[in-house]
């Protein structure tokens, strides 16, 4: 692989991790527009542990992810009192505040940025991204994912059926924050430099864009969306300055034609293993009920 190809794939790996961090709360119906803030927490926490305490990378990164998850848990409890558009705005504000705090924190370099001593090679990043995807696919097989869908589709009914709506929302939010922190900590160790300005609102918003573009109905949507948003602008590189404009036009038209995203449940149906002889439950037809 040439250096260029490796570079693109590394960016892809980071985008995939970020996309799943957005996907988890979104699967429970919560739009997190502040994911960059949690990536910043992971990045700075991981960098701080390796730099100041001499921790090995493999210990610092999970601890940094846990720290981001913990912050997500603590902040998520008051923030998740809001819902809908208010929640999106609260997370948006949260992301802005977190990166502004790091920008002013002199102990991690402030606005000048924070160099990191330990280095994670590209294959470590690939393996980590692969691990995140596998973890998400495993989670998608559990009842937890089913509860999240229930909470998203109808919180009232989910509550009546005994699902702890608040608990599921907080869990999804904190777990998403931990995934973001994991990606952020790896980012710090791969590029060996952290600056608060990188973790801005556009990073959060574009990550949401990947996920919605890929589709939130299945666990594969974020992967496809992130891959598309990373690779297609690179392919359009030939058209140089027009590439982002062309790309934006494409996104607008695509969403207008297919608002449910690229990968949907219906699209995956042919690939699914069929349960033996299980009759698909059907809604009563008008004739039957008449």
């Amino acid at each position: 692989m040439s250096g260029y190809q490796t570079g693109v794939l590394v960016v892809l790996a980071f985008n995939v991790m970020a996309a799943y961090a957005v996907y988890l709360p979104l699967a429970a119906g919560q739009l997190n527009l502040g994911i960059a803030g949690f990536m910043a927490i992971g990045a700075y926490a991981g960098a701080f542990l390796t730099n100041e305490y001499g921790w090995p990378m493999w210990a610092a990164i999970p601890v940094a992810a846990a720290a981001a998850g913990l912050v997500g848990l603590v902040i998520g409890i008051p923030v998740l009192r809001t819902h809908g558009i208010y929640l999106a705005m609260a997370t948006f504000a949260l992301g802005q505040v977190i990166s502004a705090v790091f920008l002013n924190l002199e102990v991690v370099g402030g606005a000048a940025g924070y160099p990191v001593t330990d280095y994670a090679g590209p294959y470590v990043v690939f393996a980590a991204a692969f691990g995140v995807v596998v973890l998400m696919v495993l989670i998608a097989q559990t009842r937890f994912a089913l509860y999240l869908t229930a909470v998203k589709s109808d919180p009232t009914v989910a509550d009546l059926l005994g699902v702890s709506v608040r608990g599921m929302q907080v869990a999804a939010f904190a777990l998403g924050a931990a995934v973001a922190g994991f990606g952020g900590a790896l980012y710090a160790h791969h590029y060996n430099f952290v600056e608060a300005q990188h973790f801005n609102v556009l990073l959060s918003v574009f990550t949401v864009l990947y996920v919605l573009f890929g589709g939130t109905q299945t666990v594969w949507g974020p992967l496809v969306g992130a891959a598309f948003f990373t690779l297609v602008p690179e392919l359009l590189r030939a058209s140089d300055q027009w590439r982002y404009a062309l790309f934006a036009v494409f996104v607008i038209l695509f969403i207008a034609i297919r608002p449910q995203g690229l990968v949907t449940t219906a699209l995956l149906r042919p690939f699914r293993r069929r349960a033996p002889q299980a009759p698909t439950p059907q809604a009563p037809t008008p004739e039957a009920s008449a």
């Binding site: 208010y86 999106a88 504000a93 002013n104 300055q241 934006a248 996104v251 607008i252 038209l253």
Partner: protein
């Protein structure tokens, strides 16, 4: 010193106010967080700049910029809003964001990414009142913004067209039953919101005498903050929020430092969302619209 900063804060707040009212029209009536508004803001400033550079008289250039913003907003309505009805509420947000990226990149291709100097319309016309300096341009734009918002508020509360808008905000279903032509009303709202945003961009360019393809992002996000602080869907809330955010920004720059702006502005936003999610002037969610 303090009085001077308060004046500067109010001037900046007037711009945020216009953007916040533009957002609040889209949210309050259509429940649509329209991320193309920062793009329309930028389009107003950049097109006015480009046309004046091409030798147009300023009045004509401003009118053309406003007209273009209105046209683009109709396109946003058609492609990002109309087709998304009944789907996930996050999806229109994505394609309106596509418009922001598209507009920014089109301007980038045409004018380059650098900050450009906007010609001074009212050169060196400053009032000096007891040691305070008030720019003529700033004063005119503050007055213009306030008048416009006053007029809009009167229009919505006292005219038949305004009553129609408020009915749609309250319940689109009822509005349809009462014979209101929603398919005609919605594009009109999009144009109104675009005109406010683009006017904000023009006034920003005149006041601060600089434009760039990315001038909409910072101002646009602060406009969102202003809208929420004041109370989503409330015009007077947007006025109050805009002025508050402007004051908070200018005062924290001059007394604490430029780097803490995001902490104070978005910290204020986060605090309000947690303590009083409906904003300062809004009624509880689902009740108050305009």
């Amino acid at each position: 010193m303090l009085a001077q900063q308060i004046i500067n804060g109010l001037m900046l707040g007037a711009i945020y106010m216009l953007v916040a009212v533009a957002f609040t029209l889209a949210i309050g009536v259509l429940n649509f967080l329209n991320f193309s508004i920062p793009g329309l803001f930028m389009l107003g400033g950049m097109l006015a700049f480009g046309l004046m550079k091409a030798g147009w008289p300023w009045l004509l250039a401003f009118a053309a910029a406003l007209f273009a913003a209105g046209l683009v907003s109709l396109l946003v309505e058609r492609l990002a809003y109309r087709r998304m009805q009944g789907g996930d509420p996050e999806v229109p947000l994505v394609s309106s964001l596509g418009f922001l990226v598209l507009l920014e990149n089109l301007m980038l291709i045409r004018f380059g990414s650098d900050m450009q100097a906007f010609p001074a319309l009212m050169a060196d016309m400053n009032f000096r009142v007891g040691g305070l300096v008030v720019g003529m341009a700033q004063l005119v734009s503050l007055a213009l913004s306030l008048l416009l918002v006053l007029w809009l508020s009167w229009y919505l509360s006292a005219t038949n067209a305004g009553r129609r808008v408020r009915t749609v905000a309250e319940s689109p279903e009822t509005a349809r039953l009462m014979g209101i032509d929603i398919a005609r009303l919605v594009p009109q709202l999009f144009v109104a919101s675009a005109l406010l945003a683009a006017l904000g961009g023009i006034l920003f360019a005149v006041n601060y005498q600089q434009v760039s393809p990315f001038m909409g992002e910072g101002v646009g996000f602060k406009g969102v903050a202003a809208m929420i602080v004041g109370g989503m869907g409330s015009i007077w809330g947007a006025v109050l929020g805009g002025l508050l955010i402007g004051l908070a920004e200018v005062l924290s720059i001059s007394f604490i430092g430029a780097d803490v702006v995001n902490i104070t502005v978005y910290g204020l936003l986060l605090l309000i969302l947690i303590v009083r999610p409906q904003g300062l002037m809004g009624r509880p969610a689902g009740r108050e619209k305009l």
